[in-house]
């Protein structure tokens, strides 16, 4: 069940991600100019925005795996879904923490029940709940089906998070992208985005491998006892 065609690929991606993140962070911290109003605090954007993009991407990957599992009943999609959810939760948690750290000097508070922040927190806890659900269900088939359905339901919040700054009055600024920020911010933003993308992909691959190995152990037939064999013979 474990797909080990490219055993070294996650480690290559991890290395590539670390190099991109180191270069992007160096440029973001020491080379890019400070923003006019936020000054140096704006440098948090170079890590916060790529984390947001990749958290959404990890959860979208989990959604695709959930749908593919429901249509094919192939265990590899269940294992990959588990990887996508766990890494998505890690990135969503980091996103909330980075946001709180950025909010304090700019808004004067660590947290506000603003639409963007609230919907992101809901997303984090919804996917955290799916991980908890997977822990509590022993039957692998029920676990896979229930968590696939739960992932599809939880994913409904992803577009709400994305459009929350457009639909409602929000303290949070509208989406940042290379098109909405100064050209001098592009390179560190892109390098960190690719850095986190490579690291995230490596983490999902490794986590899916762990889930596959656990599934293999769960689905393996119980060992035949010597005594029972003797009676049968």
């Amino acid at each position: 069940m474990v797909n080990n065609r490219f055993p070294k690929l996650p480690y290559v991606l991890l290395l590539l991600g670390i190099v991109c993140l180191a270069a992007g962070s160096y440029l973001g911290l020491f080379v890019a100019p400070p923003e006019h109003f936020m000054g140096d605090v704006q440098r948090i954007m170079y890590v916060h925005v790529p984390t947001a993009w990749n958290a959404m991407l990890a959860m979208t990957f989990a959604l695709v795996c959930a749908l593919l599992y429901l249509f094919t009943s192939d265990w590899k999609w269940d294992a990959r879904m588990e990887g996508g959810i766990e890494v998505g939760v890690l990135l969503a948690f980091l996103l909330c923490c980075q946001g709180a750290i950025w909010a304090k000097p700019t808004w004067g508070v660590w947290w506000d029940w603003d639409p963007r922040l609230t919907t992101t927190a809901v997303l984090l806890f919804a996917f955290l709940g799916i991980l908890a659900l997977r822990r509590f269900v022993d039957d692998p088939v029920k676990r896979a089906v229930w968590s696939s359905v739960a992932t599809i339901i939880a994913y409904v919040d992803v577009p709400i998070v994305y459009f929350s700054v457009k639909w409602w009055n929000s303290l949070h600024q509208a989406q940042s992208s290379p098109a909405t920020v100064s050209k001098s911010f592009h390179l560190p933003l892109r390098l960190n985005a690719f850095g986190i993308l490579f690291v995230m992909t490596a983490f999902i691959m490794l986590r899916a491998r762990i889930a596959s190995l656990r599934l293999e152990q769960e689905l393996a037939p119980p060992p035949v006892l010597d005594g029972a064999m003797g009676e049968l013979a």
Partner: protein, 39 residues
């Protein structure tokens, strides 16, 4: 008063980058440890 601009703030920047680096590193280490235990 700073005229609507934020002055300083480097501790917040270091906190955000430090937390991200620490969390990604620890999670990576935990993944490799879990994988090694299962093999």
């Amino acid at each position: 008063m700073t005229g609507g601009t934020i002055v300083g703030g480097w501790p917040f920047v270091w906190a955000a980058y430090g937390l991200t680096a620490a969390a990604l590193t620890l999670y990576g280490i935990s993944l490799m440890a879990r994988l090694r235990n299962l093999k």
